[in-house]
């Protein structure tokens, strides 16, 4: 009964989505206020029905209703309670439902926080978001319904994929989807602006907090995914350039470019067309990611069940949403007025270089991801691996880092080389000296690369801290200056430092990680990177839905005890799938990582030991970037938007611009 209610709620949600998309957009075009005013209630009602559907599916998991096909395939009566909840989005159908629910949440957030914006504009934004929701709900109901019943239900379920039975996977997909789907708001704003012919600075100011918020979620989501891969896949890797990872990384790169380009559009009214194109691209790439993961067009370690019928459906959906918006762009963008000019040596220019480099990097990742497809179409076969991405992507990041340091210091409109040099020479020499010292001190094949990478990171840190210092001393009273600086400034500094921290983690751990593959039995010792790993004992432990063999390692350094690590080899009873739970000793400057391999007979086991310096910095940096974004979103300026926008003059201006 309850699954049928969920199914019914999903159909009602579709009806609401249709109302939410048709009437407001048509109303905005014909100036019909009553039709436009349907947008908000329809969006809210849609969310209510979506939540009912989601609750119904969660209920089916909680009570082990194996007559629902989706539940039977992805759960089991022995599955712990917490994973029954996360199993709701553990496979294709349920994760689509999560996708739509999150879209509903963002839409309702827009209905709440957009009160002061012109009615016509809000109607268009909500209408566009409703169209997207309509497409996805149709997709779900026609090809991927999670509520389908089986007339002959199995006695027990097939269990959730053991890879997904992990605390990291409970929050990773919701975070990632919140980021992905969040770009739909920036997309909605962009389309509404194009439809209304109102591509102005106010539009940029309204989109900015939404875009940054989506970017914050996406940053956390990607970092969580990388962290999960690191400890759960059991071989210490943290990024694989897998199509699914690329699918989340491309919107992130475009979103980063968009945030920076929006800053220039909001402050100076420049690059309007470029910014609006980036907004369309960021969301289009999110949709493209959804398509690539679910259609089976590319292979990947974490691909969902593939079905060509679904592939065609999403492709048509993509064609309508992305193709339609790009046609609108080609039609409307040429008429945009350029309202201000800027010098060759100005903050505008540096921001433009920044967003261009990020977009080129995104293009490189896109090309690498679909290259196998291109070659296949021409009749050949090829697969692209990490070497391509590393050799193309990393050289693009170096100029980006250099421009970042200069851009943050530069002034709008026009700046002088002399002034910048006065301020930046300390950071220039400081980072070069650090680089040379490191190159002299370090040894090994990666020494030069590490020195270069760390020097670039130091360049960011030094230029950001000197900027921060000089701002703090710009007024007579330090406390007062600290208070009057906008939060956006603090956010920028924090996010840039976070980027530097991630770079340090990336170069050090890629160049100085060492590992050892050994045959060991209890009592054996092994040496790695100055640490002694002793295999103390091996024992068997039963789990709720698996059997585990656990190895205990005692780790010491020059005779002193450092830590104890447990690593498990689990066999999940239902799927018979073996899984390795790595034992990780985390530290700020190094991780010690052990994973238990196969029994080799005679009480011997194959064992992998890893030493991973600075690997935590990767995720620490991402966390700092996300915190910087959060700080920027809470900037006073965006709260003032409401006051300014309710200024009658602006509303009149807005109305006039829409009519023209």
């Amino acid at each position: 009964m309850i699954p049928e209610l969920g199914h019914f709620a999903l159909i009602l949600a579709l009806c609401m989505a249709v109302i939410q998309s048709f009437f407001p957009i048509a109303g905005a075009a014909r100036g019909n206020v009553a039709w436009m005013s349907l947008a908000r209630p329809a969006a809210r009602a849609q969310l209510v029905f979506l939540l009912i559907a989601f609750g119904a599916l969660a209920h089916a998991f909680l009570v082990n209703d194996f007559s629902v096909v989706y539940v039977a395939r992805n759960s089991n009566s022995l599955l712990p309670m917490i994973y029954r909840i996360s199993a709701v989005w553990g496979a294709h159908e349920g994760s689509l439902l999560l996708w739509v629910v999150i879209l509903g949440l963002w839409t309702v957030a827009v209905t709440i926080f957009s009160e002061p914006l012109p009615e016509q504009f809000v109607a268009r934004v909500l209408g566009v978001m409703g169209l997207i929701s309509t497409g996805f709900l149709l997709f779900m109901l026609l090809t991927s319904n999670p509520f389908l019943r089986d007339a002959f239900p199995p006695a027990d379920g097939a269990d959730l994929n053991p890879l997904l039975q992990d605390p990291g996977l409970i929050i990773h997909p919701p975070m990632l989807y919140t980021g992905y789907v969040g770009f739909s708001v920036a997309f909605g704003f962009a389309i509404a602006a194009l439809l209304g012919g109102r591509l102005d600075m106010a539009w940029a100011r309204w989109s900015r907090p939404w875009t940054v918020m989506a970017w914050v979620f996406l940053t956390i989501g990607i970092a969580l995914g990388s962290w999960w891969a690191y400890y759960e896949l059991g071989w210490g890797g943290w990024w694989f350039w897998d199509p699914v990872e690329n699918a989340s990384f491309m919107p992130w790169l475009t979103g980063t470019a968009l945030i920076h380009s929006l800053a220039a559009t909001e402050k100076r009214g420049v690059f309007k067309n470029w910014t609006v194109l980036l907004a369309i691209c960021a969301f289009s790439l999110s949709l493209l990611g959804t398509f690539m993961v679910r259609s089976g067009v590319l292979t990947s370690v974490h691909a969902f069940a593939n079905d060509p019928a679904r592939g065609i459906f999403i492709l048509i959906l993509l064609g309508i949403v992305i193709g339609g918006s790009l046609i609108l762009y080609a039609w409307r963008a040429p008429g945009t007025l350029i309202s201000s000019s800027y010098g060759l040596f100005s903050r505008e220019m540096f921001l433009l270089v920044n967003s261009t480099l990020l977009t080129v990097a995104m293009g490189a990742v896109l090309l690498g991801t679909i290259y196998p497809l291109i070659i296949e179409t021409l009749g050949g076969k090829v697969s692209v691996g990490a070497p391509y991405f590393n050799s193309v992507f990393i050289p693009l990041m170096a100029p980006l880092v250099i421009v970042l340091g200069i851009g943050a210091w530069s002034r709008w409109k026009a700046d002088e080389w002399n002034r910048l040099w006065q301020h930046l020479r300390f950071a220039v020499f400081g980072s070069i000296i650090i680089g040379i010292l490191l190159a002299a001190m370090l040894s090994g094949p990666g020494a030069l690369r590490t020195a270069l990478g760390v020097a670039l990171a130091c360049w960011i840190i030094l230029s950001t801290t000197t900027l921060f210092y000089s701002r703090m001393h710009s007024g007579p009273d330090l406390i007062k200056t600290l208070k009057t600086q906008p939060r956006g400034f603090y956010g920028m500094c924090l996010a840039h430092i976070g980027f530097a921290v991630t770079i340090i983690g990336l170069v050090v751990t890629s160049n100085y990680s060492t590992d050892l593959h050994k045959r060991m039995k209890p009592g054996d010792k092994a040496e790695l990177a100055g640490y002694t790993f002793e295999l103390a004992e091996i024992r068997t432990i039963p789990g709720p839905n698996y059997q585990a063999t656990e190895a205990l390692f005692r780790i010491s350094r020059s005779g002193k005890h450092v830590t104890e690590l447990h690593t498990q080899k689990r066999t999940y009873s239902v799927r018979g799938m073996p899984m390795t739970e790595a034992g990780i000793g985390p530290g700020l400057t190094r991780d010690l990582y052990v994973s238990l391999g196969e029994p080799l007979g005679d009480g011997d086991w194959s064992v992998r030991l890893y030493y991973k310096p600075f690997v935590r910095w990767l995720w620490l940096g991402a966390l700092l970037m996300a915190s910087g974004g959060l700080l920027a979103v809470t900037d006073r300026r965006y709260r003032q938007v409401r006051l300014q926008a309710t200024d009658p003059q602006e509303v009149i201006d807005g109305g006039a611009a829409i009519k023209s």
């Binding site: 067009v297 193709g323 018979g576 007979g601 194959s606």
Partner: protein
């Protein structure tokens, strides 16, 4: 207006690519490991618990490495082909028993035939990951230097043996011709 059409043009090309891509089976993409050294492994022998199989010890002769599992349905169709190939004694076939249960795997070999000189027991699939396995069965041709020369995904058929594997193997054995 022309330059504003560029994004649309790029997108149209992408859609055409994806449309064609949907028709193809992505599993046919070859391994990036072809012409690279085979990942070195030491795994327990499937039938002999106390012995282990070391890939580097197999150098000096070209061989086939067949990834199989008792839970793999396609492997049943492949087994007679491999048995026939083994009887020709042209090339040693080694097995990589992937993510399997030891007792069931041995029983399966006794029932469907054992063409392998030895089978390595990769219970966790860790070695399979090193080899980039994403579907069972898969067959690798490794030359005498330990370099992977070819990867076949899916069951080996008599056509594959006669048209691809045997010609390739005879070329590897007599590199001058």
């Amino acid at each position: 207006m022309n330059r504003y059409l560029v994004p649309l043009a790029v997108f149209v090309v992408l859609v055409v690519l994806f449309r064609i891509g949907l028709e193809h089976d992505p599993h046919l993409v070859p391994s990036p490991l072809v012409d690279k050294p085979a990942p070195v492994f030491t795994l327990p022998d499937l039938r002999n618990t106390s012995a282990s199989i070391n890939l580097s010890a197999l150098r000096g002769q070209a061989f086939l490495l067949n990834v199989w599992a008792s839970w793999c349905v396609e492997c049943r169709n492949e087994q007679p082909v491999l048995m026939e190939l083994a009887q020709k004694r042209k090339v040693p076939i080694y097995g990589l028993n992937y993510k399997d249960n030891r007792a069931e795997a041995i029983q399966w070999l006794d029932h469907y035939g054992d063409p392998y000189v030895k089978s390595a027991f990769d219970q966790s699939g860790r070695v399979g990951i090193d080899f980039g396995v994403y579907g069972v069965p898969e067959t690798f041709v490794v030359d005498r230097e330990g370099i992977i020369r070819y990867k076949h995904i899916g069951p080996v058929t008599p056509e594959v043996v006669n048209d691809i594997l045997l010609p390739l193997l005879s070329k590897l054995e007599h590199p001058s011709t």
